[in-house]
């Protein structure tokens, strides 16, 4: 990681923690993960020592919470004009995009790490397989990265954080559901089967589920990394194209 990426990363993290964003996000995130695992996930009642009910709801929480983190990444810079400052400093667009993305990802990792009481609880109550739990955390973090990369790219498209939020949610929703009939039916009628298969393989959920079960398949990890790389590349292209108009 070069020093420019590091400088942007530091600045963005500073930005999160010196505005209410960080604290509101972390509190809501911890509160909702708790509620979802204990009530909807029946953490106690199912009587199993694992964190499956905890991780199961992460895609749905991320659907709304991650775009709330990513929406400010570029929209705010464009709104306040600081993007002119940033982009006339000697830093490449790629470094700026990477720094911002990594900051948002670090921030999510911090929020995720703060769910450690769940892990302590399950270890206190029973004898869980901690490698499966670790895999769950890894999968969750990778998925958050995917959502963030999408959100970061979308936020570069608009000055308005609200628009960035709404569009990010919609795109993330399609990615979650791309393995489900809701999305597949739309393509089934006319698209070649190969394309339908590709679309169905893009689903966040399928790739997350297997990691969540403790199976770290290289293909799932590669899926998320390619997804992140693709959206960050698109992000660079969007920022670059803004120079022309």
């Amino acid at each position: 990681m070069n020093s420019n990426v590091k400088a942007v990363l530091k600045r963005e993290l500073y930005g999160y923690f010196h505005t209410p964003v960080a604290y509101v996000f972390i509190i809501i995130f911890l509160f909702l993960t708790g509620i979802f695992s204990f009530y909807l996930g029946a953490f106690y009642e199912r009587g199993q020592a694992d964190l499956e009910p905890f991780f199961r709801f992460h895609p749905w929480l991320y659907l709304f919470l991650i775009p709330a983190i990513s929406m400010r990444l570029w929209s705010e810079e464009r709104k306040t004009g600081t993007i002119e400052l940033l982009m006339t400093l000697p830093i490449s667009v790629t470094d700026a995009v990477l720094g911002k993305f990594l900051a948002a990802w670090c921030f999510t990792a911090i929020a995720l790490a703060l769910t450690f009481p769940m892990w302590i609880t399950v270890n206190y109550l029973g004898d869980p397989d901690n490698t499966v739990i670790l895999a769950g955390y890894l999968g969750s973090l990778l998925m958050a990265g995917g959502f963030l990369a999408i959100g970061s790219c979308i936020s570069a498209l608009s000055k308005s954080q609200v628009i960035a939020f709404v569009i990010s949610v919609v795109i993330c929703f399609l990615f979650i559901l791309s393995g489900f009939p809701l999305v597949l039916d739309f393509f089934q009628g006319w698209a070649p089967q190969a394309l339908v298969d590709v679309i169905s393989s893009l689903s966040f959920l399928t790739h997350f589920d297997s990691i969540n079960k403790g199976v770290i398949d290289l293909r799932d990890v590669v899926y998320y990394i390619v997804l992140i790389a693709f959206w960050l590349y698109a992000n660079v292209v969007v920022i670059d194209s803004r120079k022309a108009n």
Binding site: S3, A7, K10, R11, Y14, T88, L89, P90
Partner: protein, 256 residues
């Protein structure tokens, strides 16, 4: 005005910029040498800021080239941006950061660390008198201080080429005087471009003035030459004469 033999610090050739149907900058060419202070004058919306944005690499020209210290902004933007200190219009800065933290961020991106970073920051803090607001967040600053933070940021790396979009806008008379003295002090070995609509500023700091309207250069010469355009030997009158003459000819062209 003495122009040294070194190649120009800024060389703008046939610069053109269109935003969709709007033709913001038309065929603008000029060069600035070290030791010159160029005043960029013109009515609002004339294309001053757009031209500056293209020199600093924030906007891409539709046509034409910009060379800064011989580097082409299109092919080597990082070298150009390293050489330039730039104060964008309105002096944008990250509102939630303290002044000190903000300057540290800029210093880090400019490639300074440790002792040197500290020295660079201390120098600009002294230069523009920011010591009283170091721990204040940028968003709580008055307009004058905010502008000074922008100037500090632009001077941090002691740049060879300094481009400032309305550096004295929103400052009180004392602060204006300070910024002008600062510009004059630095003028000796830097190439400086400032935009302004305060014509007295031209007299106070500039060694050369360019008047731009509707994206075109209408006048390029020394302040004395500019003043000579007016019968009353007055900047304001010269400015009005040049711009109204231009708009009148535009009107005729439109009718024919």
């Amino acid at each position: 005005m003495t122009v040294n033999d070194k190649p120009p610090a800024i060389e703008v050739q046939k610069l053109d910029k269109r935003f969709g149907p709007i033709h913001a900058v038309r065929d603008v060419s000029f060069s600035v040498h070290h030791g010159e202070v160029l005043g960029f004058l013109g009515p609002n919306g004339a294309g001053k800021s757009t031209t500056m944005k293209m020199i600093t690499g924030f906007l891409e020209p539709t046509d034409g080239t910009v060379l800064v210290n011989g580097y082409d902004v299109k092919t080597d933007p990082i070298s150009v941006k390293s050489a330039i200190g730039y104060l964008p219009e309105g002096a944008p800065a990250y509102g939630e950061m303290t002044v000190l933290r903000f300057l540290e961020f800029v210093a880090e991106i400019r490639g300074y660390s440790g002792e040197e970073k500290q020295q660079r920051i201390d120098r600009v803090i002294e230069l523009v008198h920011l010591d009283s607001v170091l721990e204040q967040t940028v968003e709580t600053l008055s307009k004058g201080f905010k502008r000074r933070v922008g100037v500090a940021q632009a001077l941090l790396h002691d740049p060879d080429v300094l481009i400032m979009d309305e550096p004295t806008d929103g400052l009180d008379p004392n602060q204006k005087h300070e910024v002008r003295s600062l510009i004059k002090e630095m003028a000796e070995n830097k190439a400086i471009v400032i935009s302004t609509h305060i014509l007295e500023e031209v007299d106070a700091v500039c060694s050369r003035a360019i008047i731009i309207a509707a994206g075109q250069i209408l006048f390029d010469g020394t302040p004395a030459e500019l003043r000579a355009q007016s019968e009353k030997n007055d900047y304001d009158d010269a400015f009005r004469t040049i711009t109204t003459r231009f708009y009148a000819s535009q009107g005729e062209a439109g009718q024919s």
